[in-house]
Amino acid sequence: MAAEAPPPSAEQHKLPTPEEFTEVQESAEFGELRRSYRSFAFPLTIGFIVWYLLYVLLSNYAGGFMGTKLFGNINVAFVFGVLQFLTTFLIAWWYSRHAATHLDPKAEAIKTRMEGGA
């Protein structure tokens, strides 16, 4: 590369060679890690964005429905808004659990091997 970042500090582990990176990237083990990450994160991202857009669109074009009072002065719109909070908390928790059980061990194994073997 034409202009690389300044040399890394002493604390850093030795970086594997480009060939090693390519080799790992094409390995079945890394493929499994990538699949496990993407097949979880990508659909979930689309899911929460659709869910959020649904709320935005309903607010715009279904005013009557959103204004329906459920109990006291609490209407559908209010409940919908609070639900967005709840789903956000839930998704954050869910992803973190997935990452801790399915992604971290795989990532850690590859990292240790690459840095140790370099």
């Binding site: 300044p6 990237q25 857009l53 935005v56 715009n60």
Partner: protein, 542 residues
């Protein structure tokens, strides 16, 4: 003279009687944070300290600091004001600002921590030709941060006129200048270490203040939220529609489109905000970055839930005329609410007003420092060290460049602060979100996940998204042709929407794709292999 005006003067008089208290509280915060800054400055030895706080903050500390960086004057003053005036429509900000964190959590925070060093540009330029992409990344970082700064400066001006009764332009500019000088001191001396501690202190103060106000509001309504909403609707004069969507944006097809545009910008902007992204470099590894986002989601989510009490509380307890008379966009609703909760004529009211205003000031100062750090880091690391010096600058030279850049950005934001007057601070920040989502997010995502992405794609996406987003704002009712515009007396607003997101964000993505498929150069597959393995495993991260 209408009763509401008298009321405002009363509030100002009340405040001015207790001016020593207000100034003492504010001075205490400034002194404490300056102390932290000097202490942190002594411990800042190399570039990793200056840019990334030595990477030794814990996930909780960084989560708190992220929250501090994120909950700006826009959140505290702007959202409370938007809800107080427009009811349910103002609540969209709270929801969008929070949901947006999931994009950061799921797609950006960990890969960024794993593969970058100091700036957003590190990741954008990783597998591209360094000099052009770093120049682009530095440019968009500085533009986004300046939009954001504009909002904070507007908030500072608003507070001062409320608190100290200063309405003259000279007085406001003096305060904006004071904020500017302080931020230069924080950032150039304390670097990321000092700024992170300032964010933490501020986050605790802001959460504390908000819990106090929320508690007092709920106490008035015996913790019955339905009653609170009912009183807010009744007092607003809008009736039940105050609690339904559409009061601000439901008027016509155009305003409805504006609502969608705003909604998209909010949810996609966060993961492209440079001052938020660089926070992930302050923790030791990607796992800690993930945990700090989780802390941030918890803290920020709790805070935004409380904006319901702030906004609807203000609507329920203060007359609409009074809110508007104090600030046409409602930016002072939260401090006014504090005054009313304590009692308008009482010492308690004045003390509460002073406390909440000091908290708001702390909020502005801290966010301004975070923004300045992001832009000066990007200037020093992306543009100076990697473009001008072609990677040959020493740590010392880089840090010197960052400190000089801080002064320059301080001067620019003081100058711009004078321009932002009666715009709602939340609306202004939403513009920064739109620019970030158009110019930065497409390139971040393509870089991390699309093998074929090329330098030309990155450049088209960054410059294309940036130009269209900023261009549309320039010709929107935010800048001209509207009573609340920056230049209300002229009209060159041919673009009808106040937020450009609905056009500029897809455009940024489209340009990234188009630039890539039309580029003659082959993508650097080796560099992509390196980026992909590093971003997912943390190999070689430091």
């Amino acid at each position: 003279m209408s009763p509401s005006i008298t009321h405002i003067q009363l509030a100002a008089n009340e405040a001015s009687e207790h001016r020593p208290l207000i100034i003492t509280l504010f001075a205490l915060f400034v002194l404490a944070t300056l102390g932290i800054t000097v202490w942190a400055g002594r411990q800042t030895k190399d570039a990793a300290d200056f840019y990334a706080g030595g990477r030794q903050f814990s996930a909780f500390q960084n989560g708190l600091a992220v929250s501090g960086d994120y909950m700006s004057a826009a959140s505290f003053l702007g959202i409370a004001g938007a809800i107080a005036l427009f009811g349910y429509d103002g609540f969209l900000y709270s929801i969008g600002f929070l949901v947006a964190w999931l994009v950061a959590l799921l797609l950006v925070a960990e890969p960024l921590r794993n593969s970058g060093r100091y700036t957003m540009g590190d990741v954008l330029a990783y597998r591209m030709r360094q000099r052009p992409v770093r120049t682009a990344a530095g440019t968009s970082t500085i533009v986004v941060s300046i939009f954001y700064l504009l909002a904070q400066m507007a908030g500072a001006g608003v507070l001062v006129s409320l608190l100290l009764g200063i309405t003259s332009d000279a007085g406001k500019i003096l305060i904006v200048a004071l904020v500017g000088v302080l931020m230069v001191v924080y950032v150039s001396i304390g670097g990321m270490k000092g700024t992170t501690w300032v964010q933490m202190v501020k986050a605790v103060l802001l959460i504390g203040g908000t819990i106090l106000i929320t508690f007092l509001v709920l106490l008035k309504f015996n913790f019955n939220i339905s009653d609170l909403l009912g009183k807010a609707a009744e007092n607003s004069g809008a009736g039940a529609s105050f609690l339904e969507p559409g009061l601000q944006y439901g008027g016509s097809g155009t305003t409805k489109l504006d609502f969608i545009s705003l909604g998209i910008a909010l949810v996609l902007g966060t993961a492209g905000l440079p001052h938020i992204l660089i926070r992930f470099y302050t923790v030791p590894n990607a796992k800690a970055a993930r945990k700090s986002v989780n802390w941030a989601i918890g803290i920020i989510g709790g805070f935004y839930l409380m904006t319901i009490a702030l906004g609807f509380g203000a609507a329920a307890l203060i007359s609409r005329d009074e809110i508007i008379a104090s600030n046409p966009s409602g930016n002072t609703a939260a401090p006014l609410l504090a005054l009313h909760l304590g009692g308008v004529d009482s010492t308690w009211g004045a003390i509460l007003l002073a406390t909440i205003s000091a908290v708001a000031f702390a909020t502005i100062l801290a966010v301004v420092a975070g923004l300045t750090l992001a832009s000066s880091s990007s200037f020093a690391h992306d543009i100076y060290a990697n473009v001008i010096r072609k990677g040959k600058a020493t740590d010392k030279e880089e840090m010197k460049a960052a400190r000089l850049a801080t002064i320059f950005i301080g001067v620019v934001s003081i100058a711009l602060g004078a321009l932002a007057r009666d715009l709602n601070v939340a609306g202004l920040v939403a513009l920064a979100f739109a620019v970030a989502a158009s110019a930065n997010l497409p390139t971040i995502l393509y870089s991390l996940f699309w093998k074929r992405f090329t330098t030309q794609g990155a450049l088209w996406s960054i410059y294309g998204g940036l130009t269209v987003a900023v261009g549309l704002v320039l010709f929107s009712p935010v800048v001209s042709g509207d009573p609340t515009a920056m230049f209300p007396d002229v009209d060159f607003a041919w673009f009808p929407l106040k937020n450009p997101g609905i056009i500029s964000i897809p455009f940024g993505f489209l340009m990234g794709w188009l630039g890539t498929v039309l580029s003659k150069e082959e993508p650097d597959v080796k560099k992509f292999a390196e980026l992909e393995v590093r971003s997912l495993t943390g190999t070689g991260a430091h």
